[in-house]
């Protein structure tokens, strides 16, 4: 409701619709109901090896700087500045809470598929109830995305997780794949919920609330004639854009997206690789501690020392595991979502949309772009800050473990020394 009100005010007051909403950057907060504690991303799911030519692992490359030649800066418009201020000041005014969990396998004679449970809690009047529980499959999400794109052709619609991964997949539905998908679907719905305009979309409401048969019959009503026409017009128009004289602002946006796409893809690869390396380190460490226990069996005088070392190593091992799961919870999904965003934004129709935004000089539409950029910055910042925090915590835990070992050894030594004195 707030979004609607603001949107209608926009032409008159000149305030942006997007940024003024009190949404929390970054989408839905985790709920107690949702699972996803120790599910880990498998490297096989995202085949790394072929694409890693540009990753340097074992050589120290002195030439790090590769500055861009053209003008990188976007002028700081008053609009985006207002957006920024608004984000920091407004409290969280969410009235729609969505969780995606409990993946379940369904087997029919024709196919096997997974459904996810979606729980919606809301205080909004237009909803018949304050709580809803439905089951949806990936196809349904695809449908929803399509409808949103149709209804709001000029807005940036959040990306869905990949349809399926062909390379390196042994089983279409292994646990890690399902968990990753679940998290991404959760994110998808929350992004929509947080969007000032999309959150009030009717199809979205039906998706969240309708029973299975209701949804099926609603789906059967195909896209409207007008929207179908609209799509064709758009497609023709985009192909005709060619060598038009594009405004500078647009060029800068375009360049930004291109470079952003490059960078975020690299960051995604690096992050996945780090996860893989940490996992392999963890696997080796698991074996390391027990050897010391084995050794203690044959050393009378060193039993305690060896056992203590073994337990220190085991504790550090657990800390590594925690660090890994932190990475897969916080950093990896965020970065990957932006990879998907960037893929979408690079598409010709999307670029066409951007051009429209700029050409129309419609504040409401431009605000969507600004909003997206703002979210992106906040999300990336948060994700990396979290990663740093995880690492600090990891090292602090290990430090405490080894320091207490050292103290105990020193104390023992002092005890022994005092015992020796006559």
């Amino acid at each position: 409701m707030e979004g609607e009100r603001r949107a209608s005010q926009a032409p008159s007051s000149g305030l942006p619709a997007g940024g003024a909403n009190g949404e929390s950057p970054g989408g839905g907060a985790p709920f107690p109901g949702s699972s996803g504690s120790s599910a880990l991303l498998q490297a096989e799911v995202l085949d790394l090896d072929e694409d890693e030519d540009d990753l340097e692992v074992f050589s120290k490359d002195a030439s790090l700087m590769d500055m861009n030649s053209f003008s990188p800066m976007m002028p700081t418009s008053p609009l985006s500045m207002i957006n920024q201020i608004k984000f920091e000041d407004e409290p969280d005014l969410k009235d729609l809470f969505i969780t995606v969990d409990e993946p379940e396998s369904h087997v029919t004679t024709i196919e096997t598929f997974i459904t996810y449970r979606i729980i919606t809690k809301t205080s909004r009047g237009e909803f018949d109830s304050s709580e809803f529980e439905v089951r949806r499959r990936y196809q349904d999400f695809l449908w929803l995305k399509g409808k949103l794109e149709e209804a709001h052709p000029t807005l940036i619609i959040p990306p869905l997780p990949e349809k399926f991964i062909v390379k390196g997949m042994v089983e279409r539905f292994n646990d890690d794949f399902i968990e990753t998908r679940r998290k991404a679907l959760h994110k998808f719905l929350n992004r929509i919920a947080d969007h000032p305009t999309l959150t009030f979309n009717e199809d979205f409401k039906i998706f969240l609330t309708a029973q299975a048969w209701e949804l099926s019959s609603h789906k059967k009503q195909g896209p409207g004639l007008l929207s179908r026409m609209g799509q064709t017009v758009r497609a023709v128009a985009s192909s005709m854009r060619g060598v038009k004289n594009r405004p500078e602002e647009f060029m800068e946006m375009n360049n930004f997206i291109e470079l952003f796409s490059q960078k975020i893809n690299l960051i995604d690869k690096i992050s996945q690789r780090i996860y893989k390396e940490e996992r392999e380190y963890f696997d080796e460490m698991k074996e390391y501690g027990p050897i010391h226990i084995l050794w203690s069996a044959s050393e009378e005088d060193l039993v305690d020392t060896l056992k203590d070392v073994a337990s220190c190593i085991d504790r550090c091992c657990k800390a590594t595991e925690k660090r890994m799961s932190g990475l897969s919870e916080a950093l990896l999904p965020v970065v990957h979502e932006y990879v998907l965003y960037s893929e979408m934004l690079m598409l010709p129709e999307e670029i066409g949309k951007l051009e429209d935004k700029v050409e129309c000089a419609n504040n409401a539409l431009k605000a969507d772009w600004e909003r997206w950029k703002q979210n992106m910055q906040n999300d990336i910042k948060l994700a990396f800050t979290d990663m740093a925090e995880e690492n600090i915590h990891y090292y602090e835990q290990c430090l405490a473990t080894w320091e207490s070992f050292l103290t105990s050894q020193t104390n023992l030594h002092l005890e022994e020394a005092s015992e020796d004195k006559p």
Partner: protein, 463 residues
């Protein structure tokens, strides 16, 4: 990397009055002040190292006069050389500079007394000699001949500078172990090793130690069926097998862990590169990204030093891996002695039996003589007397030999066990110290990690 400061506990106990090995000639080394180390020119590729000096004290007994002399031994340099080998083919090898200094007790000044170059094979010769002349001693091991338990970064090449450096430290440690051993330190050949550059090999060979060496010891797979094994030695042998097995396993896994850890750190370096590029296009996040990237680089490069330190820890464990072999060698010698003793006793018993039969006229044991007598007729009383006399002489001799063998055996066991006790205490001390130093390394690594990531977090939060 410099070694830890000198261990004051490495004091020598006074040598026993009648050492079993080569007599006399303690190390009357002169004293030299610390050499400069760097800057000595050499042919070919040069690896020059910081002089590492370790002090220890030993007591020399000469004519009941005691005086304290501190001597310092250091293997201070390593140099690549080319020469011709025994087959007149050109070869490349590394030579190590051994410097000996003695510190005058009164004024604390150190004077360089001896300095000479030795190659690894000469160290091996010294050790082989010591093994023969001190069979009851757990002889300190040499550093590994070839690099083992490598993880990917370390070269397995003997000419690799890092390997040469670690070997230099290992060789120094070897010499210090001998010099601080109450019995071995007094060996003349060892003294000459440190003082007589030319002709030393000939001197060693002249001792004829190779002939003295029991070739049976070389047959590693041969088992001697000992009827009454000494339980202590059997247990020791089992212990040494376990020690070898567990340390090997530990070193293997450690190498794999090091490899993985290297990977984790280095991949983070890629963040540095990308952040830096990205910061160029991001106005608001630019500065934060740039400095965060710098910290990622710092993080990535910090692993090199960390793992270098760990390599020294691995070397400490390796020494005890090789010590296990030295323990087994002592057990083996004892086994052989026991076997010989049992064989001699058996032989004596059978001769006594033969003699008794001849004297009493009963034939209980089979003998060829007995058979031929039956076939070709009885022997004359004179012939029988002669045979009895020979046997009695042999029995006498045999009894003397058995007596001395027994004595030898008991001496061996007594002395071996004394050295084994000494070794055990040394091992417990050293291994505990090594494990503690490992903890110290981990702590240092964690502190570095905390610092880098705290800095990075600050940069991220400023984005």
């Amino acid at each position: 990397m410099e070694q830890a400061p000198p261990d004051p506990e490495r004091q020598l106990q006074p040598a026993p009055l009648e050492p079993l090995g080569s007599p006399d000639a303690g190390l009357g080394a002169a004293v030299g002040k610390e050499a400069e180390g760097a800057g000595e020119e050499s042919s070919g590729v040069d690896t020059v190292f910081v002089v590492v000096v370790v002090l220890f004290t030993f007591v020399q007994m000469t004519h009941n006069n005691f005086w304290l002399k501190k001597i310092e031994i250091s293997v201070s340099e390593a140099e690549k050389r080319t020469g011709r080998n025994a087959m007149n083919m050109q070869e490349t090898y590394t030579a190590y500079l051994i410097e000996t200094r003695s510190v005058e007790h009164t004024d604390g000044q150190s004077v360089l007394t001896d300095s000479l170059w030795r190659r690894y094979s000469e160290f091996e010769l010294l050790r082989s000699y010591l093994l023969v002349y001190y069979p009851h001693i757990v002889v300190p091991p040499l550093p590994e001949k070839r690099a083992e338990f490598v993880w990917h970064k370390l070269s397995a090449d003997n000419m690799d500078p890092d390997f040469v450096e670690r070997r230099r430290i290992g060789l120094e440690n070897f010499l210090l172990r001998i010099a601080s051993h109450p019995i071995l330190c007094r060996d003349k050949i060892f003294y000459l090793f440190l003082t007589q550059e030319g002709n030393w090999k000939e001197t060693v060979n002249e001792t004829g130690f190779q002939l003295k060496a029991d070739s049976r010891l070389k047959a590693l797979n041969a088992t001697f069926r000992v009827k009454n094994p000494d339980k202590r030695f059997t247990d020791l042998k089992h212990y040494s097998d376990e020690l070898q097995s567990v340390i090997s396993h530990l070193l293997r896994v450690r190498a794999r862990v090091a490899d993985r850890l290297y990977g984790v750190y280095k991949v983070h370096g890629n963040y540095g590169r990308v952040f830096s590029e990205w910061s160029a296009i991001e106005k608001e996040m630019g500065d934060g990204l740039q400095s965060a990237g710098h910290h990622m680089d710092v993080y990535a490069s910090s692993i090199d030093d960390i793992l270098e330190d760990e390599e020294h820890y691995a070397d400490q464990l390796k020494e005890y891996l090789f010590y296990a072999e030295a323990l087994r060698a002592v057990c083996r010698k004892h086994e052989l002695m026991q076997y010989d003793l049992e064989m001699a006793a058996q032989d004596l018993a059978s001769k006594k039996q033969q003699c008794e039969e001849l004297v009493t006229g009963t034939v209980r044991t089979f003998s060829l003589k007995g058979m031929t007598t039956k076939l070709f007729g009885q022997e004359t009383p004179e012939q029988r007397e002669a045979r009895i006399k020979v046997l009695e002489e042999q029995i006498n001799e045999g009894e003397q030999q058995l007596k001395s063998k027994n004595l030898e055996g008991r001496e061996f066991v007594k002395n071996a066990w004394a050295d084994i006790e000494r070794f055990k205490e040394q091992k417990n001390r050293d291994l505990k110290e090594a494990l503690i130093s490992y903890a110290v390394m981990q702590i240092s690594m964690c502190k570095k990690g905390i610092q880098v990531w705290t800095n990075a977090k600050e940069c991220f939060s400023k984005m």
